[in-house]
Symmetry: C2
Subunit: 197 residues, 2 copies
Amino acid sequence: MTKNTIQEKRMRGYFIQAAKEILRGEGLRAVSVRNIAERAGYSYATLYNYFDDLKELIFECITDFKEESTDFVKERTKNSERGLTKINDIVIAYANFFVQHPGIFELFYIEKPTDIAKKQPTLDLIYSLLDKLCLEEWIYCIQNDIKKMDEAERMKSEIRFLVPGMLLLYLNRRRPETYDQFLGMLKSQLNYILHKE
Amino acid sequence: MTKNTIQEKRMRGYFIQAAKEILRGEGLRAVSVRNIAERAGYSYATLYNYFDDLKELIFECITDFKEESTDFVKERTKNSERGLTKINDIVIAYANFFVQHPGIFELFYIEKPTDIAKKQPTLDLIYSLLDKLCLEEWIYCIQNDIKKMDEAERMKSEIRFLVPGMLLLYLNRRRPETYDQFLGMLKSQLNYILHKE
DNA sequence: TAATTATTTTAACATCGTTAATTTTATAGA
DNA sequence: TCTATAAAATTAACGATGTTAAAATAATTA
């Protein structure tokens, strides 16, 4: 059944593209089978010729968005001074991406995968995304004796929980209330984690 | 319309009770109007005589669960040595409560309030819950010169984001994979936050 | 007991994801 | 080019969902 022909891939692409547009614009709760199909220019049942179910389609979007976020962060930090400064900037850019696309945050961190089996790699992808974005700079820091290995590990761990935690409270609970406050808080937390003695 | 008679309150209580049972047992996605009403012994439309909509009922449950979590934490930490040790224990007990009741975590931190206006106090409640649980001990620490005021503030802030962040990744993304790993990580992070110099 | 009010229930609507049956389109062989 | 067959897309339908309006029942009052 999985012929994976060019046409088949193209069709999948149409639906994925449509789903991504809705996700980006209106978030996860605005997505529906009929919604996506209409935007893709097909009937709702046609979708099921190319995806097992809606979940499969949605999770296809994740890998796409993962690359978008990676590009976004890299573009924004390509001129940052190497080392801790760059790590700082990467984390801020990463958080910024999700503030601009709350629907993608939902997808990455909140949406429950009902059937976990198949998507384990996808979950790994998300969990290690921020780590991967920073990896190169952490290596740089260790090689240049800016931080020790175990220090770096602890900081990575702190940041790994800090960012989703702050985003969750800001995007879903509006705490703090303004973006400026959010950014200020993130910067101060980061500054403290990275530069404490 | 809001007569608030005893009978009216009783009726609301029946529905709230039913909703809480489902939330506790099967989580938010298992909750439905017909579901709750059946468990409460009434028809589904009767619910709308006592609540504007399902959301209102669900958010009523939050205040109830808030007290349950407070009791849970207090009971679990009443014998802890005062000061940083007790703060440590409170945070761990708090996290533990949500691990045992993931549906309540969803309600507290994840579920999006579509109409924010009315529930602003409820959101404050959640945001400051852990802070409140620890407040007494932080005062103790400051008064006994264990920590300075600004140090304490920074630690409170770190913990405020750490706990939801870790819970989000563990409960919704199964990272880390086992509860033991989760607990170990939480303890090590807490230990570092509270005792770093 | 009769009339009125309050409460509860049933019926209905629009939406959702998904499947089966049906129609349309494309392909193959003559 | 016409026809038989395979592939693809569409419509119809099912069982859910939250919510509202109309109908039926129960409680209260005169």
